[in-house]
Point group: C2
Chain length 201, copies 2
Amino acid sequence: MRNKRGTLLILSGPSGAGKSTVIQAVMQRRENIYFSISCTTREPRPGEQHGVNYYYISNREFEQMIQEDAFLEYAGYVDHYYGTPRKAIEEHLSAGWDVILDIEVQGADIVRSKVPEAVSCFLIPPSFQELERRLHGRESESEEVIRGRLARAKEEYRQIPEYDYLVINDVAEQAAEEICAILQAAACRVSQRQEYIEGAI
Amino acid sequence: MRNKRGTLLILSGPSGAGKSTVIQAVMQRRENIYFSISCTTREPRPGEQHGVNYYYISNREFEQMIQEDAFLEYAGYVDHYYGTPRKAIEEHLSAGWDVILDIEVQGADIVRSKVPEAVSCFLIPPSFQELERRLHGRESESEEVIRGRLARAKEEYRQIPEYDYLVINDVAEQAAEEICAILQAAACRVSQRQEYIEGAI
């Protein structure tokens, strides 16, 4: 394998875009791909597992990691911290694996500035009406929560021009196929294949 | 189909890289893809066909087309003109077709400056030694011609950093698959999907 370093793929999208389903489909289609698991200080929700959905750590552990510069980016929301641990990402990229980072728009901005060769992709449903429909379909959430998510989604859509790619999640398998193509193309960038040029000229 | 405009793919590479074989394989894999046929004033070589390899036209016709700004780019080599006719490319792109342009490095430079959203791709064999081997394998060519081609290839390799992508033609089908991924990714660029954003915000 001559691509020494994998691609860091930043994936953002509003709540209701179907990121988890699409990411799972991408992971099944491609080999040597790692999904970055974030750290949080909030409690696991029912069904969530440590090391699968998040690493659930204490405030003290989180602040210790901040001190050690162990996060690629982190932020505090309401009462809790959320952060992207740097080490596992770096290890996988160095080993030639691609890494997917599911991250909101502000975090994406920070990662882009720290890792300029990262590729960024925004995932949305086929229309904003469809996003509304999907959010209303989640019966567990109140109308107020849904309105909040839609307002936030509108804010997030304004950041789409900062991204390289826009993938439409109508059918999850097709969206996954496009993301796989984006990863395959990213590995073909001239910047990733310098050794072929240096040897020749 | 919501991608209104196709992608213009600039494909360059030294003589011996295997461009024709790879292009054929790409055309077989993808639908709605058009290979741009150039105009030339040189005579057809044995086996070449008008409208397949080139459009063989007279000096007078060529100069008339220059007057009419009918070329996206053109150049004179030795005694003959070579040019890329603009109209068929524009028609196919407008209809949402991707267009492949097989063009050398100077022409690529001109097309890039005129069509900034074009995607450019350089095709090479796995090593320069392999390029030498392939060129020597063409028994019809003299040692002098081969030396000329290799010297020219070295010049062309220096232009690779101007390209977006570098595709290695070890196995033609794999190279074609990478080019298909590059085209699929290009269609996902945010700039190609503005209508999804404008509707929402």
